[in-house]
Structures are given as structure tokens and as C-alpha cells.
Amino acid sequence: MSFKTYDEIQAKVCKVVEEVLAISIDEIDLDASIEKQLAPDSMDQVRLYMVLEDEFDGSIPDEDLKTIHTVRDIINYISRRLGVET
């Protein structure tokens, strides 16, 4: 599946967050801390990035993960990797 716009990527990322963390899409705070608020269990973080990699068919290197703290960071990161304007 190819993603042409930032909004498409945001919608898909939020869908994955809902799928993995069981947070309804309407209630996802894009700027909430993944580590402290959305997925305090580190295994949930591993699951979240694993499903994102599966969804977008790519790999997120460990050094890149260090730059990701919020769902908005994820959307921005994937958009950059896919060459979609943020």
C-alpha cells in the first residue's frame, strides 16, 4: 500500500495505535508520551513498533527509535521515510 499524504499516514498510524494499545482513535492524544502515558509497559512499545513495521513494511532502527516520543513523532518519522511532505 502506498501513502501519498500526511493525513493518510496519520490515519494509518492511529489505526495501529488503536489496534495495539486498544485506545479508540478519537481518544489518541498525538502529543502524549508513548513511554509515560500511552504504553508504559515496555513490551507494549515493542509490540507497537513491530506492528508499525509490519503495516508500513519497513524497519525502524534502534537509533531512530530514540528520536520518537509521541504518536506525532511516529507520523512525522514515517512520512519522512516515505518521502511524504510533513
Binding site: 515493542v46 509490540r47 513491530m50 506492528v51
Partner: protein
């Protein structure tokens, strides 16, 4: 507490000829098989003596309530086990509800979960996950390095050839952070316990081809002695990898079918033309075992009664059967003694019946020595091939249904029997009261279960 009666109240199965227990049973009576040539791509990596295998049907795990996260976190062997367990619990009359949406877990209403155990057999556990992730570990970085080097070389036939070979060294796209918990054999029973929130004893039995029978036997004993009231018991196996390495393991040992005058009938346990067993991609079967009064109190459907269990060890050879079969004979005598019936009472034997030269010869000699010569004999492996750790439980499920319905599937492709025994060649009605299902394993493990039609 004295000996309590133990009954089978639910069955679930996935195997090459069925994605649920009813399909498996009906297709077994119809003599269906699922024999295919081995994948063409495997021949790029080695030569094989055997050329066929028994394939699982396509499976949509979401039909069993499983999610993408489950597919990514559990080896296929555990997914098969979870699906069979869910079907068995449902067929047993239990209602399954969501317990924790985020964790993807369920609860089983009306089940006192701390009085319920999970007993699962598997031969190789999550071997598929181990091998798949190993391909990534070995190949991903090195392939990139080699590709980069090749780019700088001038175009040539040798260069093209190297590119082609490199293209055949495929691997999974990402190393899975859950690989350890996927490959460990105990993930099979643990995954059922976690998925269905069952907190009693949770044991994985790894006795190769006997694992699925041993697990049921130990579940039976745990209920009979009062340790628990209900058991989710069975076996599972998934034998596949992109390079055919698992298949090659058995093929190199010379135990797979290799007489291919007619591939359609090559898998022929107890026939003079037999040449080995049909490799199966796998499967799973789960039986719900339950203390009789517990089952009756909740009006559970009762399929058959488990009467006795026996197990012995050959202490002889890792891959060879003890020629006299004394270890197996001891096991059978222990099982019928435990059932408090004579061996001559057994009217139907679901044999181990692999199709290897030695197994069928020794097994048929033991049957001649011990059992009533009129006892019906078939081999479920003549239909689905050898599912290793799942085989004993799939065969126990068939045995229970044979007692319930008073009929048995045929011993497929049997035209020249190696012994003068009552092998099943037609699906007919029979008045079956007692049946026996037995398994023997690499290592030297022997196990057998005596069952009785319920209601007599």
C-alpha cells in the same frame, strides 16, 4: 479420593484434511488426503529422496478470534494449538468472552480455571520461528554487503549467476523481538493458558511422535486422581520453513516415503509396498477432558470415556525401534490393566501406523500377539501423513468419534497387507465399545489410551 471417571466433552482440530473437527471426521470417512509435491523452490538448496508432503489448508486465523499481534507474537504451532483449543472449549459447551481487549485474552465462563489444566504435546515447538529468524540473522547484513560488492563489478555471466544465487537466499524482512517466546516448546501450552486465562497446571510434553498421546494420558491421570477437574489436552506441530530444512531432516534420516511408482498411493501404512511416512506440514487437536460428574452437572456433551493410560520407554535407541517390541507390549498391557479390561476386549485400534518398514512390521506383530484378531485396525496417518507431536491427539480425537458414531475410516492405500489382521478397507457400521489409540516416538517413548463408548 478414589479413581474418578474421566470423559471427553469437546474436540477441536486442524489438520491437512480439515479446519475443524467435523470437517476432519467427515473427510476421514471419505478417505480424503492432501498430498502435494514438495515446493519446487526447495530443490535449489538440496536434493531430496522423498518428493511429496501433506499440506495444511489455507488458514485465516482471524476466524478463530486471533489478531495480527497474535500472528506476529506466536509461532504458527501455537496459533494452531490456540485455534484447536478454542474450538474444543466451544464444542464442550463453554462460552468464551473477551477478558482483556488490549492483551487479546479471553475468559471461559463457567470454568473454574484454577481447577483446569493445560497439557500440550509438541515435537519441535516453534522451530519455524527459530529457522525464519535465523535466516535474517545470517543473511540480511551479508546479502547487503555482497550486493554492494557486485554492483562495482563489470557485467558478466558470472556476475549474473551470483545475483541469481543471491536472490535465492531469502529471509524474513525483520528480526522478530519475540522470537525466544515463539520458539520455546512450552509456548504451545503457555499460549493456551494465557489466551483462555486458565490457571491450573500448564505442561508441555515433548516426546516427538508420542507427545500428543502422552499429554492426553497425563491430563487423564490428573483428573482421575482429583488434582484437577477439567483439562485442555492435545498436541500440535508446524513443520515448515522456506528452505525445506525440516523436511530434509527427516528425509536425510531415510524415514520418509520414497517409493514413487505411483505417488497417489505412495503413502500406504501396513502395505507390502510401504517405504516410509508421509511428511505432514502439521496440525493440532485438542480434547476437553472432564471429570464425569462435573461434565454431567453442566449438561456437557459427552463424546467418549477415557478408561486407561499406559506409557513406557524402550531404553534402546534414539531412532530405532526395539526389534521385539517389548517396551510397546508393556505399555499396552499397562494401559488395558489401568482400564481394568482385558486386551481381547479392544474392538478398534487406531495404530501408530507410520508406513515405515520397521514400525509397521513390529506394530503388526505386537497387535497379533496381544489383541483380539478381529479388532479393527486403521492408521490415520494413511490419510493425513505424520503430524509428529499432533499425531497422537488427532488420532485420539478420531478414536473418540469412531466410538461415538460406531464407524471408522479406512486404512488408505492398503492393497497388500503385511499381516493377516482386520485392517479397515471399507467404512461400515460397527458396534464398538472399547478402542485403543497408541503412539511410539523417536527417543523410545511409547504411550497408549484406552477409551470406551459413553453410556454403556
Amino acid at each position: 479420593m478414589g479413581r474418578r471417571r474421566v470423559v471427553i466433552t469437546g474436540l477441536g482440530a486442524i489438520c491437512p484434511i480439515g479446519t475443524n473437527i467435523d470437517e476432519f471426521w467427515l473427510n476421514s470417512l471419505a478417505g480424503e488426503t492432501s498430498v502435494f509435491p514438495i515446493p519446487e523452490g526447495w530443490r535449489a538448496y538440496s536434493d531430496f529422496k522423498s518428493k511429496i508432503l501433506s499440506k495444511l489448508p489455507p488458514l485465516e486465523f482471524k476466524n478463530w478470534g486471533l489478531r495480527r499481534l497474535d500472528r506476529l507474537q506466536y509461532d504458527r504451532v501455537s496459533l494452531l494449538a490456540i485455534c484447536a483449543a478454542r474450538e474444543a472449549l466451544t464444542n464442550s459447551g463453554y462460552h468464551i468472552a473477551v477478558r482483556d481487549e488490549r492483551a487479546g485474552t479471553f475468559k471461559v465462563d463457567e470454568l473454574e480455571t484454577n481447577r483446569c489444566g493445560v497439557f500440550v504435546g509438541t515435537g519441535l515447538g516453534g522451530g519455524n520461528s527459530f529457522l525464519e529468524n535465523y535466516t535474517h540473522q545470517v543473511l540480511s547484513r551479508k546479502k547487503r554487503e555482497i550486493s554492494s560488492l557486485l554492483k562495482d563489478l563489470p557485467k558478466s555471466e558470472a556476475n549474473d549467476s551470483l545475483h541469481r544465487s543471491l536472490g535465492q537466499l531469502t529471509h524474513i524482512p525483520r528480526f522478530n523481538p519475540f522470537v525466544v517466546s515463539m520458539l520455546m516448546p512450552n509456548a504451545t501450552s503457555a499460549s493456551i493458558g494465557i489466551k483462555f486465562s486458565i490457571g491450573g497446571p500448564n505442561i508441555t510434553f515433548s516426546m516427538a511422535c508420542a507427545a500428543g498421546t502422552v499429554s492426553i494420558g497425563h491430563a487423564f491421570k490428573s483428573i482421575q486422581t482429583g488434582e484437577i477437574d477439567v483439562a485442555v489436552a492435545g498436541g500440535c506441530e508446524f513443520l515448515d520453513d522456506r528452505y525445506g530444512a525440516m523436511f530434509r531432516g527427516y528425509d536425510a534420516a531415510g524415514v520418509l516415503v520414497h517409493n514413487f511408482e505411483d505417488p497417489e498411493v505412495a503413502n500406504c501404512p501396513f502395505d507390502k509396498k510401504r517405504s516410509g511416512f508421509l511428511f505432514s506440514q502439521g496440525g493440532a487437536a485438542v480434547l476437553i477432558l472432564e471429570e464425569l460428574e462435573t461434565a454431567k452437572n453442566r449438561n456437557a456433551p459427552i463424546i467418549a470415556e477415557v478408561l486407561g493410560y499406559g506409557e513406557t520407554f524402550d531404553a534402546y535407541s534414539m531412532m530405532g525401534m526395539e526389534p521385539d517390541g517389548f517396551g510397546i507390549e508393556r505399555m499396552i498391557r499397562l494401559a488395558v490393566q489401568d482400564a481394568r479390561i482385558g486386551a481381547e476386549k479392544i474392538q478398534y485400534i487406531n495404530a501408530h501406523g507410520t508406513g515405515t518398514s520397521l514400525n509397521d512390521q513390529i506394530e503388526s506383530q505386537i497387535i497379533e500377539r496381544i489383541f483380539n484378531q478381529n479388532a479393527l485396525i486403521n492408521s490415520t496417518k494413511s490419510l493425513i501423513g505424520h503430524t509428529i507431536g499432533a499425531s497422537g491427539s488427532l488420532e485420539a480425537a478420531i478414536t473418540a468419534l469412531s466410538l461415538k458414531h460406531g464407524t471408522t475410516h479406512i486404512c488408505k492405500n492398503l492393497t497388500e497387507p503385511i499381516a493377516n489382521l482386520n485392517f479397515v478397507t471399507e467404512v461400515l457400521s460397527h458396534d464398538l465399545k472399547y478402542a485403543f489409540s497408541q503412539s511410539f516416538a523417536f527417543g523410545g517413548h511409547n504411550a497408549g489410551i484406552v477409551m470406551q463408548r459413553y453410556g454403556d
